[in-house]
């Protein structure tokens, strides 16, 4: 009996050194591989034929990627393999970063959160109704750049290779909160290690989504102490479980030394190709309401929405204001 050929080969390196050595070798060979932790984002895309890596490299055996470390100064190091359910349920982390834990607890569904990792959520693929479909649906409705085609069904003027070539939506729930927390990524490749602020990580494109090199590994997320910073995260979805955010809003307020509002910060997910992030210093505004108005205006102006989601584009755009103002109410800021 002949079994069909395997869709992918499988490897599971047992240390970071072994992993990096493999990546050096594989990328020199032209590297058709995918790194997988929870694989909860990757496997459906492989099954639908959206992604076809020849080789799947599991990160689950690499101990350097696991674990959470708390430091005396209140800063933390979260291993990229930290499972979202563990992050959501960690009593100590909930004291330091309650909004991060809450956002992790809003991803997908409980059994997916048991497997899916924080690093994977930062790297979760962008979504568009034109490509995240069955093979049959994609065949009927035509192709797009991301599917290897020569046109984009959303933006007729888009040109392959000229960014932003693809308007697939950024959908990570944890990224906007981590941006407000000033997270820094620890990245390791055959060329060594580098620290990169999350704010410099993403690119304005649904295909070339970030600056991580193909042979580079996200090892950990470094978080400074969150003293005086309170964050609210909420997202627009059709169902309360499973859905990626059609819009996600993280709003942060930082009190100054006197206890009054010093800075308002805002990050969006679900609506553009990458998470937008803005900061508003209280000194530049008459009052908190003026800061909120500025935040709403900045978000609204930046949000280039296309019909790449099931919600109508105008509805999602109008919800930006609503979500920002509701978050401000929950945080006790103005109106």
């Amino acid at each position: 009996m002949n079994a069909p050929p395997a869709r992918f080969a499988f490897e599971r390196p047992a240390s970071l050194a072994e992993l990096v050595a493999r990546l050096a070798r594989l990328s020199a060979d032209g590297g058709d591989y995918a790194l997988a932790a929870g694989a909860t984002d990757l496997m459906p895309q492989i099954k639908r034929g959206v992604k076809t890596p020849a080789r799947l490299i599991s990160l689950n055996g690499v101990p350097e990627l696991a674990g959470v470390q708390a430091r005396a100064d209140g800063s933390h190091r979260l291993g990229a393999l930290t499972r979202l359910a563990d992050l959501a349920g960690d009593a100590r982390l909930r004291q330091h970063y309650p909004a991060l834990c809450a956002a992790a607890g809003r991803v997908a569904s409980p059994p997916i959160r048991q497997r899916a990792s924080l690093g994977g959520n930062l790297l979760v693929d962008n979504r568009c109704i034109h490509i995240n479909q069955s093979a049959l649906n994609r065949a009927v409705h035509g192709t797009c750049f991301k599917a290897g085609g020569e046109t984009c069904p959303l933006v007729k003027s888009a040109v392959r290779g000229r960014l932003p070539q693809c308007q697939a939506r950024f959908v990570s729930d944890t990224a906007p909160v981590l941006l407000l927390l000033d997270a820094v990524l620890q990245l390791v490749s055959p060329r060594g290690e580098r620290q990169l602020p999350l704010s410099q990580f993403y690119r304005d494109d649904g295909m070339q989504r970030h600056v991580l090199a193909s042979d580079e590994v996200l090892v950990a997320i470094e978080l400074p102490a969150a003293d005086g910073l309170r964050i609210d995260y909420d997202k627009l979805t059709i169902r309360r479980a499973l859905d990626f955010p059609s819009l996600g809003v993280a709003l942060g307020v930082r009190a100054d030394s006197g206890g009054t509002l010093g800075e308002l910060s805002l990050a969006l997910t679900g609506i553009g190709t990458h998470p937008g992030c803005w900061r508003f210093a209280a000194a530049a505004y008459d009052n908190a309401n003026a800061m909120l108005d500025a935040a709403c205006a900045a978000a609204r102006e930046s949000a280039t929405t296309y019909q790449q989601d099931f919600f109508p584009r105008d509805y999602r755009k109008r919800m930006i204001d609503v979500f920002i103002r509701k978050a401000a109410q929950r945080l006790g800021v103005a109106r």
Partner: protein, 172 residues
């Protein structure tokens, strides 16, 4: 460990030997590198209690316990689970003695076509193991993982509530 002199792993695309425990029994089987845990359980071990619904991680019907945690077996490469302990719906009852949640699902009429039932129970077993008296919100979050197209969910919620009451009576 299995690297050749140039770091290549010539066996990565070949059938590999996988050893793990399923419902308390040690299993050692040859598996393809791309087979999911769901296919391994259903096709190679004949354990068909875990259901294939969407096969894409949406419907939740394939849930099993991996080292005590509910996960979707259709999304897990079996080769990634070396030395894991898997519990499927077949391993939940002790002989003919049902788990209290299984009995409550019957008593409350929470089973119709039965396709989602194993996954509802698997998620519930994990819930009650970590939180014997879950509140309404915790119950709804727990069953949010699994699609049921028959019951409208009310009977399933009632079965979970009945189970929580029973645990409360046993350990007041």
């Amino acid at each position: 460990m299995n690297s050749g002199i140039d770091g290549a792993q010539p066996d990565a695309g070949a059938v590999r030997l996988l050893s793990l425990a399923v419902n308390g029994q040690r299993q050692q089987r040859a598996v393809a590198p791309d087979i999911t845990l769901l296919d391994f359980l259903r096709e190679q071990l004949g354990l068909t209690g875990s259901k294939r619904g969407c096969d894409l991680g949406e419907c939740g019907c394939c849930a099993v316990l991996v080292d005590g945690r509910p996960m979707l077996s259709c999304l897990l490469p079996a080769a990634d689970l070396e030395h894991s302990a898997i519990t499927t719906i077949e391993g939940i009852a002790a002989g003919t003695a049902l788990h209290p949640l299984q009995q409550a699902m019957i008593d409350e009429g929470a089973v119709q076509c039965g396709y989602c039932t194993p996954a509802m129970v698997i998620n519930g077993v994990h819930l009650f193991a970590s939180e014997p008296r879950p509140d309404a919100e915790a119950i709804r979050t727990c069953i949010s993982a699994t699609s049921c197209r028959c019951t409208g969910y009310n009977r399933i919620v009632q079965a979970f509530e009945r189970t929580a009451e029973r645990f409360a009576e046993e350990q007041p």
